[in-house]
């Protein structure tokens, strides 16, 4: 069997739903736990499990949280089976740490949302599902845990699934699954359980092993945030960075944004030799034909599929600090490798999700978060305390931003516009209108 690419998972649930126990169970049953760690668990003075040993101790690492018995911060776990490698972002359920749930979800492909069979869908579960969907997680897996405490009742399971109906209808998420499990006993975690004969779906691990790989960023338009200029001697000037989406070849013309200067790629330089093509998520160094004044923070793109730039953005912000958003205060927006002073127009307090208009001190090339996770997301930093105050998802330019209009004539279309245009063109063709769509279909824009 061919090895599927790494799957990044986040787990979320309310406190005590059994997240830590479930991850401990996954690690233990896939034999990822070292014997000496297991001995520590067996010897530990703490045991909150009703029978057997407390698998949650395998993941609840920090003293402070062991004492309180709650998970307080995102912890990353690594395990693999012969079929696949996994990274699990274990995110806390306690309400005050909802920000960490967004952190875990920001990089993951699939979210496991834990429900307690006795409690069903709680406000926290709804919130977590919404955050995962908001952050672009395409697959949600609802695991109804502690089925052993409700006699593995199909009625209870069906009722909870029905309860989740309205939530799912509201979420814009590709794929949803429901699984009855017992993290404590291991039912339907690694192997399918004889105690749920009415359940015919896969076990959780089977589902994770076979989940479709995340969409490849290399298929999106080329985006290259310049991290730094490498200039070892006067004859070489290279722009180092990670290709966050798309691909590039020597000879192609690139556009440096926001300045709009153009040049052609001369070489793609790496320690292991020059490349004929480089694509996301490779880290490379690009040498250009011309000596342009390009620096850290510039974004390289192809002219036909370049992002738009704006000085005012409509965004969704997740606020992550005790100090609420303050419209009079200056913040720094960090987007790719670019940091721009901003003013925020909106209201948000800790753990709130708010619509915020961002006024930028200089033009920013951007994509909407829906189109591109890397060039559509940003963080906000307090200029005085240096703390990360929140995270934002770009929707588009705010109506008052004019740069969009100025650039419209020669600006390429964003994927969203292209989808709309394609629909319009199909509609017109149905009415007999003919036009040349080759360029458009080849991705060159109209």
């Amino acid at each position: 069997m061919s090895l599927l690419p790494l799957l990044r998972i986040s787990t979320a649930g309310s406190v005590d739903d059994g997240k830590s126990t479930l991850i401990g169970r996954l690690l233990y049953d896939t034999k990822t736990v070292w014997d000496d760690h297991m001995e520590e668990v067996r010897k530990s003075k703490v045991n909150r499990a009703s029978r057997g040993f407390d698998l949650s101790l395998l993941t609840d690492g920090l003293r402070a949280e062991r004492e309180q018995g709650i998970t307080i911060d995102v912890a990353y776990r690594y395990f693999s089976t012969p079929r696949r490698q996994f990274i699990v972002a274990d995110t806390p359920g306690h309400e005050q740490y909802t920000r960490n749930m967004a952190t875990g979800a920001s990089t993951c492909d699939l979210a496991i949302i834990l429900l307690d069979a006795r409690k069903g869908v709680l406000e926290q579960s709804r919130r977590h599902a919404r955050i995962a969907a908001l952050l672009g997680v395409k697959r949600l897996v609802f695991t109804v845990n502690k089925m052993d405490l409700v006699d593995f009742s199909q009625e209870v399971f069906d009722e909870i699934q029905a309860q989740a109906g309205p939530l799912l209808a509201e979420l814009d998420c590709g794929h949803v699954d429901f699984l009855p499990i017992s993290a404590l006993d291991g039912d339907n975690v690694v192997a399918r359980s004889p105690r749920t004969p009415w359940y015919t779906g896969p076990s959780l691990l089977e589902l994770l092993e076979t989940a479709a790989p995340p969409a490849l960023a290399s298929a999106l338009p080329f985006r290259f945030p310049v991290q730094l200029v490498i200039r070892p001697h006067l004859d070489f000037r290279g722009y180092a960075g990670q290709i966050v989406s798309g691909a590039i070849r020597p000879g192609e013309t690139v556009l440096a944004l926001p300045s709009g200067k153009r040049s052609r790629v001369k070489r793609i330089v790496t320690f292991d030799g020059d490349l004929d093509v480089a694509y996301a998520p490779m880290s490379v160094t690009l040498e250009l034909e011309d000596e342009l004044d390009i620096a850290r923070g510039d974004l390289l793109a192809l002219p036909a599929t370049a992002p738009k730039t704006a000085t005012r953005l409509t965004t969704t912000v997740i606020w992550m600090n005790e100090a609420p958003l303050d419209g009079r205060r200056g913040y720094l927006l960090q987007h790719g490798t670019r940091t721009v002073p901003v003013r925020l127009h909106g209201v948000a307090a800790l753990n709130e999700i708010a619509r915020v208009e961002v006024e930028l001190a200089e033009a920013l090339p951007y994509d909407s978060y829906r189109d591109n996770r890397s060039t559509g997301g940003f963080i906000l930093i307090d200029t005085i305390t240096n703390l990360t105050m929140g995270a934002g998802l770009i929707e588009g330019a705010a109506s008052t931003g004019q740069s969009e209009l100025q650039k419209f004539s020669d600006a390429p279309f964003t994927p969203a516009e292209r989808r709309k245009l394609r629909a319009v063109m199909a509609h017109m063709q149905r009415f007999g209108v003919k036009f040349d769509t080759d360029d458009f279909n080849q991705g060159e824009g109209i």
């Binding site: 014997d35 690492g61 995102v74 490849l216 960075g241 990670q242």
Partner: protein, 301 residues
């Protein structure tokens, strides 16, 4: 055009290069903490790649406790010379002059003086605002919560309850004078990834990682090599055992394991069959429950 997904190791490599470059770009004066171990070897190799065709734009700092294996020091000097890196060595000379040693003081206190204190002092003396380290999240439970850019206050302390949220691959490296960031480019690597990468890139590592006959004291499950002045307990007699190190540290603290693995591919095969963690043979981690976390709060890497 569609392109294949990168292999797991190539994807990890690309992420680490991005983190190394962010460090060089965001900080005034970064330093790479070079411990001579296999993870450090990988980190230095990645740093060479990140800044190619330029040189690594920061020095390598080794905290020398003076209790390390002679092979390690030899390797350090040769390796850094060969790749043209700038090496700085720091030792807590005051503590050693006062007689700090693991045999009289105990390993926990010794480690606090010769590693933790030395590191915090060295970073302060050098005025470094970022320190790159080879720690991985899969190493130890408290490390699993560590950020890639991990904030340290003016005393070098880590506050696990008050970490900066870290989303996507956006790393906030903003600090005030005196504060610093510890950067962990290998956060998402596992021990197995490190070994496979060393194999595929043919990265040089200290010979101590390969099995050979050594004079050791057998103390419980731990093999303590005789290379330094380890004092036999009553009744203990040195024996010759074919063994190797799974992780490196000071001689009194890092035990050897029985092993015949004398090549990287044998080490990888052996690791696949292993049931015990790599830090187990580091005596210091076992002093008390949660001891790594305590040390980290104090500023240990």
């Amino acid at each position: 055009m569609t392109y294949p997904a990168l292999s797991h190791l190539r994807a990890l490599e690309a992420e680490s290069l991005h983190i190394l470059r962010e460090t060089a770009a965001q900080f005034r004066k970064p330093v790479l903490l070079y411990s001579i171990g296999k993870d450090s070897s990988v980190l230095v190799h990645l740093a060479r790649k990140a800044f190619h065709p330029g040189r690594i734009p920061f020095p390598l700092l080794h905290i020398d406790t003076t209790y390390e294996y002679p092979e390690m020091i030899e390797f350090r000097d040769r390796f850094t010379r060969e790749i043209g890196a700038e090496l700085r060595v720091y030792t807590n000379g005051d503590a050693i002059a006062e007689g700090t040693n693991p045999y009289d003081l105990g390993t926990a206190k010794c480690c606090h003086q010769l590693r933790t204190r030395a590191l915090v002092d060295a970073l302060k003396a050098g005025g470094y605002d970022a320190a790159l380290g080879g720690a991985r999240r899969d190493e130890e439970k408290s490390r699993a919560k560590e950020r890639v850019f991990s904030f340290r206050d003016k005393e070098g302390r880590w506050d696990p309850r008050n970490q900066r949220p870290e989303l996507w691959s956006l790393y906030n490296g903003k600090v005030d004078p005196g504060e610093s960031i510890r950067v962990f480019p290998l956060s998402n690597w596992t021990e197995m990834d490190v070994w496979r990468y060393i194999e595929s890139e043919a990265i040089p590592i200290v010979s101590l990682y390969y099995a050979m006959p050594r004079q050791v004291l057998v103390r419980g499950a731990t093999l303590i090599p005789m290379e330094t002045n380890v004092k036999p307990l009553p009744g203990e007699v040195p024996q010759t055992v074919i063994c190797r190190m799974r992780s490196l540290g000071c001689t009194p603290c890092s035990g050897a394991i029985r092993s015949e693995a004398d090549t990287i591919s044998k080490v990888i095969d052996e690791l696949t069959a292993f049931k015990r963690s790599e830090r187990e043979n580091r005596v210091i981690d076992h002093d008390q429950e949660g001891s790594m976390e305590l040390k980290k709060r104090e500023g240990y890497f």
